[in-house]
């Protein structure tokens, strides 16, 4: 047994026929590279579209207090069992399917700052509010849990408020008064424009929920709550969970109606789900077509290159190579060329991905499992079609293999 000799012969064949080796690997390089880049672009686009849909607030749940019913008799507005901050804290502590829950304490008032004044809506919220709304800051920072506990007099203002109070200067660090209570501006929201109902979403002042409730508004009831599910597909489950937690909090017996309503963004959610579904189908077809085309390319090149070598196989058989020697030889060649081609293909794919991300609007997200799949399928096709014609040729009588033109 001289396996090392046969491996040596295989490596010699690869090195001696650089052009043929390169062309053979090229099939694998293109197969692997194209599949990874195509699927990477698909996944990058899917990710971006999902992100943009999520920015519309697709995961958002709004929890309103409602009147309760007793045996079909509405007990009217007087029966409102309104929410307190304690309800919010309980949900925040016990919910597992939400990414964030915020109390909303609505108020309004006159805001004096800079050299002018402005009347706006004031919302007392929790730090997770930004994330729930998928809003972002243009400058400064948002308030923290510590500010909420301390009822800190800090505020984050929307663009419209900024334009009216501080048209030419940066308001971060400035003092404003809301209904005569002094606040420090710590941040400015990024511009959001109008909401679907035509309301200016930038005409808003945010402050910690406790500050607004205890220092501005007074009383113990918050207006409503907002929450975001951890993902679009968990909205239903999150809604169930919040319902159960709130029923417990409000001690509602089984069979009694809820004294609250949870609303979700059903239309946006449906759009998001169907977009995700279509994108997944699209991605699947891209991957399948790329793999098929790549695989056929590899198959052709391997078939041609190995069939062309029938005479060489004949020579090897004539000087005493066993069928298994030929098989190990060609298998080694196919594996080595597929490995080298695969590694080069993967490197090229990562390079192309980086170039696309850097210089174009396309986003390519290359996931390891796609890399493995492209590599696996191309390698398997390369090895099979490098091996199969060699196996056929090695089965010939040496004299028939030698006569092959």
């Amino acid at each position: 047994m001289k396996w090392q000799n046969i491996f040596k012969a295989a490596f010699q064949s690869i090195l001696k026929n650089r052009m043929r080796s390169l062309l053979t690997s090229l099939g694998i390089i293109i197969g692997v590279g194209a599949v990874i880049v195509m699927v990477g672009i698909g996944q990058g686009s899917q990710y971006r579209i999902k992100k943009e849909i999520d920015a519309l607030g697709a995961n958002m749940l709004i929890i309103f207090p409602s009147h309760s019913r007793m045996g079909g008799v509405s007990r009217g507005a007087g029966s409102y069992n309104r929410f307190t901050l304690a309800d919010t804290r309980k949900l925040q502590k016990e919910s597992s399917l939400t990414a964030g829950i915020s109390a909303i304490v609505g108020s309004g008032g006159q805001i004096i700052g800079g050299d002018s004044n402005w009347n706006s809506r004031i919302y007392g919220v929790d730090p997770s509010y930004l994330e729930i709304r998928a809003w972002s800051l243009k400058s400064g920072t948002f308030f923290t849990e510590r500010d909420v506990r301390a009822k800190a007099k800090v505020t984050v203002i929307g663009q419209t408020v900024k334009e009216n109070l501080f048209p030419d200067s940066n308001p971060v660090g400035e003092r404003i008064r809301i209904n005569n209570t002094p606040f420090t501006v710590i941040g400015v929201l990024a511009e959001k424009g109008q909401d679907p109902r035509g309301m200016d979403q930038d005409d808003v002042v945010l402050a910690p929920s406790t500050t607004v409730l205890y220092r501005l508004k007074g009383g113990r009831y918050i207006s409503y709550m907002m929450a975001s599910a951890i993902s679009t597909k968990d909205i239903g489950a999150a809604q169930e969970e919040l319902t159960q937690l709130l029923r417990d909090a409000h001690k509602i017996k089984p069979g009694e109606d809820n004294d609250f309503i949870i609303r979700n963004q059903a239309e946006i959610t449906e759009a998001a789900a169907s977009a995700a579904h279509i994108l997944t189908l699209l991605l699947g077809s891209i991957a399948a077509v790329s793999l098929l085309v790549g695989g056929i390319g590899i198959m052709n090149i391997m078939l041609v290159s190995v069939t062309e070598r029938t005479r060489e196989i004949g020579i090897r058989l004539a000087v005493g190579a066993r069928e298994s020697d030929i098989l190990v030889h060609f298998l080694t060649e196919a594996v080595v060329l597929s490995l080298i081609g695969g590694i080069i293909g993967i490197s090229i794919a990562y390079g192309v991905g980086a170039i696309l991300n850097h210089f174009t609007d396309l986003t390519a997200m290359i996931q390891p499992q796609i890399v493995m799949m492209a590599f696996g399928v191309s390698g398997a096709v390369g090895i099979f079609f490098g091996f199969y014609p060699a196996k056929k040729a090695a089965r010939l009588n040496p004299i028939d293999a030698l006569r092959h033109e």
Binding site: K2, A9, E312, G320, A321
Partner: protein, 254 residues
């Protein structure tokens, strides 16, 4: 003297569509150690088919074949491969060297596949074989850098390297000019002097005169078998031959 080749009633039939072609119709042949035999015959007389049977490149349809005292009928494919590797050195008309592979590596090829360890699997063994055919200074040349005569010498060195019981040459000079052909026969004569058994197929009666025994074939049968009475010695003939125009290349352009 021992018998290297012995066949009894060797037959080979090919089926071509509905017609069966009888390429060999019962060959009884025996070759002793140290003989230099030529097999003559017209195209289609079955001489190449017989040669392929003797070299275990193809298997007979019927009959018995003893090679170097061993019965080589109905063996497995691996056993035939080992016989081709260890017992037979085959020289082809078209050289059949690996392209883009140096003379030395071509000669090493049978050593790669040798499982018997009768001969050392060293580069030196291949060098020695190349030296025996007079190519010690061309070991690192590739086939396309060599003349036809040189390529055939590499092929002969490859046939020699595993120290086979017999060398079988199927029209080894068919692609060579007459001067180079005689050079190749000089080499075979030299090897034969050293005790190597050689069987050579040719259709040129002139060349058969350099061997010791001529077997005449026709239509799949042996029709004549006689010793050469006045054997030519290639070394003596060579100086008298004119050098041909294409003698530089040595390969007949077809």
């Amino acid at each position: 003297m021992t018998t290297v080749i012995e066949t009894r009633g060797l037959k080979k039939n090919y089926r071509m569509g509905t017609v069966t072609v009888h390429a060999l119709r019962g060959i009884n042949l025996s070759v002793e150690t140290g003989e230099f035999v030529s097999i003559m015959g017209a195209s289609g007389s079955g001489k190449s088919t017989l040669m392929n049977m003797l070299g275990c490149l193809d298997t007979p349809s019927e009959g018995e074949y003893l090679l170097d005292g061993e019965n080589v009928n109905n063996l497995t494919r691996n056993q035939y491969a080992d016989i081709r590797n260890q017992k037979v050195g085959f020289v082809f008309q078209g050289f059949n060297l690996l392209a883009k592979t140096t003379a030395l590596e071509n000669v090493e090829l049978p050593l790669f596949y040798d499982r018997s360890n009768r001969v050392p699997h060293t580069r030196q063994a291949a060098m020695d074989a190349l030296e025996r055919v007079g190519l010690a200074d061309r070991v690192h040349h590739e086939p396309n850098q060599m003349s036809g005569g040189e390529q055939q010498r590499v092929a002969i060195a490859r046939a020699l390297v595993n120290n086979p019981a017999i060398i079988l040459a199927d029209e080894p000079t068919g692609n060579l000019d007459s001067h180079t052909s005689v050079e190749i026969l000089a080499l075979f004569q030299e090897l034969n002097e050293q005790g190597i058994t050689v069987v050579l197929v040719t259709h040129e009666p002139d060349l058969a005169l350099y061997t010791r025994r001529v077997i005449q074939m026709s239509d799949g049968r042996i029709v004549g078998d006689k010793s050469v009475e006045s054997r030519l010695i290639a070394r003596e003939v060579l100086p008298t031959l004119p050098t041909l125009e294409n003698g530089e290349n040595g390969e007949v352009q077809s």
